[in-house]
């Protein structure tokens, strides 16, 4: 119906003012306008998430340092802060560029070119999604971060990790138990009930090496001791400068939840983008848009969506990985 609107029989009007009716004041088809306004509203959805992220982050005394959290890459690369996510960002930028090329070929009504660049864009989107899958797997499986647990945080004060002997000397009671089929040793403060929140562990790093005696300053980041053998996230014990024995605190829960939620929501957009790109690539190959004679407008609208996904990533990248 929309094709035979007022526009057709008043098309002869050559009035200077675009707002006088019978033509688009923005010289854009209704489909393109609708895509723009949908993207505007989607931007507000993401804004809702990112502003919530900001509010929660501002309400927390500490927040994990990104270049400490995101420092692994596939194939066993360790201590390479932000390198993998830079790769992911580049994948998305390149897929955006190939999308621009697809739109240009569409404008030229070059079917083969449009399909070629669309396929490259699909490959880019799929690569990004795979990278994200690896990143999530690493964070969940190896680092122990989940929507309810955040093993990354900052120290509020300076101190030194304690060894088992020092803990026993301080009057802590040593408990040896079996957890998930492996031995676990922890310490209870005097008169404390044996519940998970009261358990103090000797701090060990990722490889299981004891970190007793190591000193740290306020603001240093830390990762809660993670025991591969018994799958426990353990509060390491340390002595503050004023001589008090304390245990490490988990980082703000909200970090993990927000990270998985917002990157997941963005990933969902990438995923649906890949699905739509595939459909459109098939349609282009089938010659559907040639029949419509509108310069492959569907490819252009899809391009807007795909660039929007890239645009959102700019801000996700900013708030989660850079700041």
């Amino acid at each position: 119906m929309a094709t035979d609107t007022a526009l057709d029989h008043h098309a002869d009007v050559q009035d200077g003012n675009l707002w006088d009716g019978a033509k688009s004041p923005f010289q854009a088809s209704y489909g393109k306008l609708m895509m723009w306004y949908f993207l505007l509203s989607d931007a507000f959805t993401f804004a809702g998430f990112l502003i919530s992220y900001g509010a929660l982050r501002f309400s927390m005394p500490t927040w994990p340092v990104p270049d400490f959290v995101f420092k692994s890459a596939p194939f066993g690369v360790e201590n390479a802060p932000l390198i993998f996510v830079t790769f992911m960002t580049f994948v998305l930028i390149i897929s955006s560029v190939t999308m621009v090329r697809a739109v240009q070929e569409g404008h030229r009504e070059n079917k083969g070119g449009a399909v070629f660049w669309l396929l490259l864009t699909i490959i880019g989107g799929a690569t990004f999604l795979s990278s994200q899958a690896w990143e999530w797997t690493n964070l969940i499986g190896k680092e122990g971060m989940s929507v309810t647990t955040n093993p990354f945080s900052n120290f509020n004060e300076s101190g030194k990790y304690l060894s088992a002997e020092e803990l026993e000397k301080a009057g802590f009671q040593k408990v040896e138990t079996e957890a998930h089929g492996a031995a676990a040793t922890y310490f209870l403060r005097p008169r404390a009930a044996d519940v998970p929140e009261n358990r103090y562990f000797v701090k060990a790093d990722h490889h299981g090496h004891s970190m007793a005696g190591e000193e740290f300053a306020a603001g240093n980041h830390f990762l809660i001791t993670y025991n591969h053998a018994n799958h426990l996230y353990e509060h390491g014990a340390y002595m503050a400068e004023d001589g008090h024995v304390k245990k490490e605190e988990f980082g703000p829960q909200a970090f993990g939840a927000l990270f998985f939620f917002i990157t997941g929501f963005h990933g969902f957009h990438v995923f649906s983008g890949v699905v739509f790109l595939t459909i459109i690539a098939i349609n282009v190959a089938g010659g559907l848009y040639v029949k419509r004679r509108n310069g492959y407008e569907m490819v252009e609208k899809m391009g807007l969506y795909w660039h929007f996904v890239d645009l959102v990533w700019v801000f996700v990248f900013l708030v989660f990985y850079l700041l």
Binding site: L18, P25, F26, Q27, A28, L33, W36, L40, F44, A47, I51, S52, G54, A55, L56, R57, F58, S59, M60, P61, V65, P66, D67, P81, L82, T86, T89, F90, I93, I94, S96, V97, M99, V100, R101, Q104, H107, R108, E166, K169, A170, G171, P190, M239, H244, V245, K246, G303, L304, H307, F308, D310, L311, V314, F315, F317, L318, Y321, L322, L323
Partner: protein, 139 residues
């Protein structure tokens, strides 16, 4: 609408790839540099670090919207009708962040007040230990 010629447009694409790539590398470099990964022990102050990061990201966003999404070649009204509403978020950001800060402060205050009552009602035992899980002395 002033669309570019095909050959020019192809150049813009390459230029876009370069610009976005360079800005991204710059961002990552500043992030690593500012957090002491490049010169050990050197940290950029937040007053410098945050604006640089946000500025670079906003430039990327501008570039994507104006070049890749062709906003530059659209009628100005369309650009305004999409971009101006996002200004509504400015006040939302101010208000939400202000709120977040105040939740944090209030939580801190409650924490302090909780400690105060413990000091009033409970005397330290001979070992100098309180039932508060933060205050154990090494003997």
């Amino acid at each position: 609408m002033g669309h570019l010629e095909y050959s020019e447009a192809k150049k813009v694409v390459v230029k876009g790839l370069m610009i976005l790539g360079v800005v991204t590398i710059a961002e990552v470099f500043v992030a690593l540099f500012g957090n002491g990964h490049i010169i050990h022990g050197f940290y950029l102050h937040k007053i410098v670090f945050y604006p640089v990061m946000i500025g670079l990201s906003l430039y990327k966003a501008y570039f994507i919207v104006y070049e890749f999404m062709h906003m530059r070649y659209e009628v100005k009204g369309l650009a305004m009708s999409v971009l101006l509403p996002t200004l509504l978020l400015v006040w939302a950001i101010i208000a939400f962040f202000q709120e977040g800060t105040s939740w944090g402060k209030r939580r801190e205050l409650i924490h302090q007040k909780d400690k105060e009552t413990i000091h009033e009602t409970q005397q330290p035992s001979e070992t100098g230990m309180l039932d508060d899980d933060r205050t154990y002395q090494i003997q």
